[in-house]
């Protein structure tokens, strides 16, 4: 109940498809999706394995609430060892693909080995086939989506695929489903590419049932009401999307700008939600057409935009004149603030290309920002860039870079390594705004101290979605804390991390937690799933997952030394805004955090902790 109880195991080396029952003992301990699939992964692969080698595995996993009427119950995750970081990777995506997987009858799809030739996978209910992808290898996400639907003559198929970037091991390439929803971070797309697996196409016609339909309806209905009545999930997100944050974070002086040189972007207003809704001078239409929900979502924060047809990026390219996924806050920040570019249409175009070719806009934009700094510092020249004048603020440079990186051509190949490898290659590693080689997103720890600890300890490399303390420090959810203070942040981060791990394992979207607490979520899980799912149990599951991920990373070679922020954040004080004069002070919070976690001062979970959590 909730779970379908069945998983698919695809061995691409042998070309075999097997089914097996879901391990229900594990399901009871790890719930689903992130937690449960990570459990399978850590049990089945060597933590030291080459992420792009055939011994790595990649798991597509749904949660027990995926494919139900719970609000946002449409999520799935891609779990693997990440090539960008070398750490455990779990990238979460919405759209309709995850729910379709449940309707096809599968909780998870585990992909092992590597195919000798490009293949794609079709999962039409019980009919699972590994098929020749000769015709789509080298094609974009959008072309692949279209091709698969036409080849199988079924417009109801949902496709998750990699773009050309994933085929070419761009280290932050993602898996894109439903054209513009992505399992975005840590380079999970490159893992598919390394396995010669272009795409997974799913069509499901079966049903998902829950333990107690009546209770479930009651609990989900109550949950929906909370979302509706909450200012952020009921009004802010649907109207402005996550872009609602652009001005807020900028004002808080926590917007990393021009590769972290600044903490405020003077042109934030030009690329904000408000700007997207404003009629353009050129054609009188706003950039934003409407919002779109993912499967089952009653918030509907997704942006659907259309680029000005006369804009230089698409002027003679009608193939980009349709509506598609528009700028979310992280993308607008990375493509805009991090590079100093303020041309909204150029950012939208870059975002389209990220979707079309399967690039994580956060890592891509941040890497371009780092490259721009290398260029301005004279470390690289237009010779290195193939003629691109890689100056901060240059929209042309940005859009050229995205085209090249999407196809892994020319200088795009270098950008495709990510900023850690790129800056290291040119002898300036301190210019990489990364933790565990993954670029941090749109919140500057100098202005939001809790995010420093979040980035430093995140199990998949720098990331906001592992413990979004911004909610508390800026928005006051569930209660307001001082963004500039460090006291109490260790506990805050831990609480957010554990709760988020549980939410990420349920099939729900973490954005619900702007309004929901586990008090809202647990009853929904409890009504759907076998067993007894209290708030306490959810928290325990979350903490268990966190420790399991940590152990994997430790075995993969990560130590406390890797729980650190880029030097710039620790040394160069914020120049403006409320945090002016401050640096990120993660060192102060780390020991307390380790202690709270029940880890040694080396950041290793103690035996006691492991026993307590039964990891």
């Amino acid at each position: 109940m909730g779970w379908t109880g069945k998983i698919l195991r695809i061995d691409l080396s042998k070309g075999t498809v097997k089914t097996e029952p879901l391990n229900m003992d594990w399901a009871d301990k790890y719930l689903g999706q992130r937690g449960l699939a990570s459990k399978y992964l850590v049990e089945e692969i060597d933590p030291k394995t080459d992420p792009l080698g055939p011994d790595n595995k990649v798991i597509f996993a749904t949660g027990p609430l995926t494919g139900t009427c719970a609000s946002t119950g449409g999520r799935y995750s891609v779990i693997t060892k990440g090539p960008l970081t070398g750490a455990i990777a779990c990238s979460n995506s919405g759209g309709y693909f995850g729910a379709e997987m449940k309707f096809a009858g599968w909780d998870m799809v585990i992909v092992e080995g590597a195919a000798a030739k490009p293949v794609y996978l079709t999962i039409f209910d019980d009919d699972v086939q590994i098929r020749d992808a000769g015709d789509i290898w080298g094609k974009s996400v959008w072309e692949t989506d279209k091709w698969i639907k036409a080849a199988h003559q079924d417009p109801m198929i949902h496709v998750a695929t990699i773009g050309v970037s994933g085929e070419n091991a761009v280290l932050y390439s993602c898996v894109v489903n439903d054209l513009h929803r992505a399992a975005g971070r840590s380079g999970v797309g490159a893992v598919l590419g390394s396995k010669n697996l272009k795409a997974v196409a799913i069509r499901g016609t079966g049903g998902v049932s829950v333990k107690d339909p009546k209770e479930f309806l009651k609990a989900t209905k109550a949950g929906k009401k909370v979302l509706k009545d909450n200012a952020v999930t009921g009004q802010g997100l649907p109207t402005y999307g996550t872009q609602v944050l652009m001005n807020v974070i900028n004002e808080a002086g926590a917007m990393p700008t021009r590769n972290g040189r600044d903490v405020q972007f003077e042109s934030a207003g030009d690329i904000s939600a408000e700007a997207m809704a404003e009629p353009r001078r050129s054609d009188g239409h706003p950039n934003l057409l409407t919002n779109q929900a993912c499967f089952g979502c009653t918030i509907a924060c997704g942006r659907i935009s259309k680029i000005d047809e006369t804009h230089y990026t698409v002027q003679n390219k009608p193939e980009y004149w349709h509506a598609s996924g528009g700028l979310e806050y992280e993308a607008a920040w990375a493509l805009g603030s991090a590079t100093g570019v303020k041309d909204l249409e150029a950012l939208t175009y870059a975002n389209f290309i990220c979707n079309e070719q399967g690039l994580d806009p956060i890592s891509f934009g941040a890497t371009v920002g780092a490259a721009m700094e290398l260029y301005e510092d004279g470390v690289i020249t237009s010779e290195t860039t193939g003629g691109i004048e890689l100056k901060f603020g240059s929209a042309e440079a940005l859009t050229r870079c995205v085209e090249l990186t999407g196809k892994a051509e020319g200088f795009g190949k270098e950008l495709g390594m990510g900023s850690a490898r790129l800056t290291a290659k040119y002898g300036r590693p301190e210019l990489s705004m990364t933790v565990k080689s993954q670029e941090f997103p749109a919140y500057d720890p100098r202005g939001i101290q809790g995010m420093g600890l979040t980035y430093a300890t995140s199990n998949r490399g720098a990331c906001h979605l592992r413990s979004y303390t911004v909610a508390s420090e800026i928005l006051g959810i569930p209660e307001k804390t001082d963004p500039l203070a460090t006291e109490g942040k260790a506990g805050l981060v831990k609480a957010f991390q554990d709760a988020t791990a549980a939410v990420d394992s349920s099939g729900l979207c973490v954005f619900t937690t702007f309004a929901w607490t586990l008090e809202d979520i647990a009853p929904q899980v409890d009504a759907a799933c076998k067993g007894d799912w209290s708030v306490e149990k959810m928290l325990e599951v979350g903490e268990r997952i966190w420790n399991m991920e940590r152990i994997f990373n430790n075995k993969a070679g990560f130590t406390a030394k890797d729980d650190r922020l880029p030097e710039r954040l620790m040394k160069d004080a914020a120049k403006t805004g409320p945090a002016k004069g401050l640096v990120a002070t993660v060192d102060k919070m780390l020991p307390e955090y380790y202690d709270l976690r029940g880890w040694t001062s080396e950041g290793v979970p103690t035996n006691e902790t492991l026993e307590r959590l039964a990891v």
Binding site: G67, F103, V208, S209, T290, N291, F295, G296, T298
Partner: protein, 163 residues
Amino acid sequence: MLKALVIDPGKCTGCKQCEMACSLENEGVFNPSKSRIRVFDFHEDARFVPYTCTQCDEAWCQQACPVNAITTDAMGVKVVHDNLCVGCKVCTIACPFGTVNYNASTGKVIKCDLCGGEPACADACPTDAITYRDVEQSGYDKMKVWATRTSAGTESHGPNTPA
């Protein structure tokens, strides 16, 4: 007064809560492929269109049924009687809106019956793209225009519409 589902595609976000609600109500599980309402996704035009039976006056399905397995109830709703339906599928080709579908697992057809007066889809729709209200005040005639154009005769009332 007759009530009807009033669908405003302009308000639809594509969340498919209606499909979930419908399949749970009618099938006891979440299964959009068995939902009586379907949301069409025109992503390139940024448009989502929920689509289901309008309980049209012509009752093409009812007319076509050889065994009287579809009847019109007092509320004007065209209801399939499972005990009578033989699964011949004639109604599925007769309905020019394509809103009667064959369910291979039961060997019978399924169509929207407004859940006996409390449509689950309207209840589940978070943005009021689907509402259930008095027909007079609705813009629902849009589809009925097409119904009339499909009419074999010139009159828009079918033989089985309640007198």
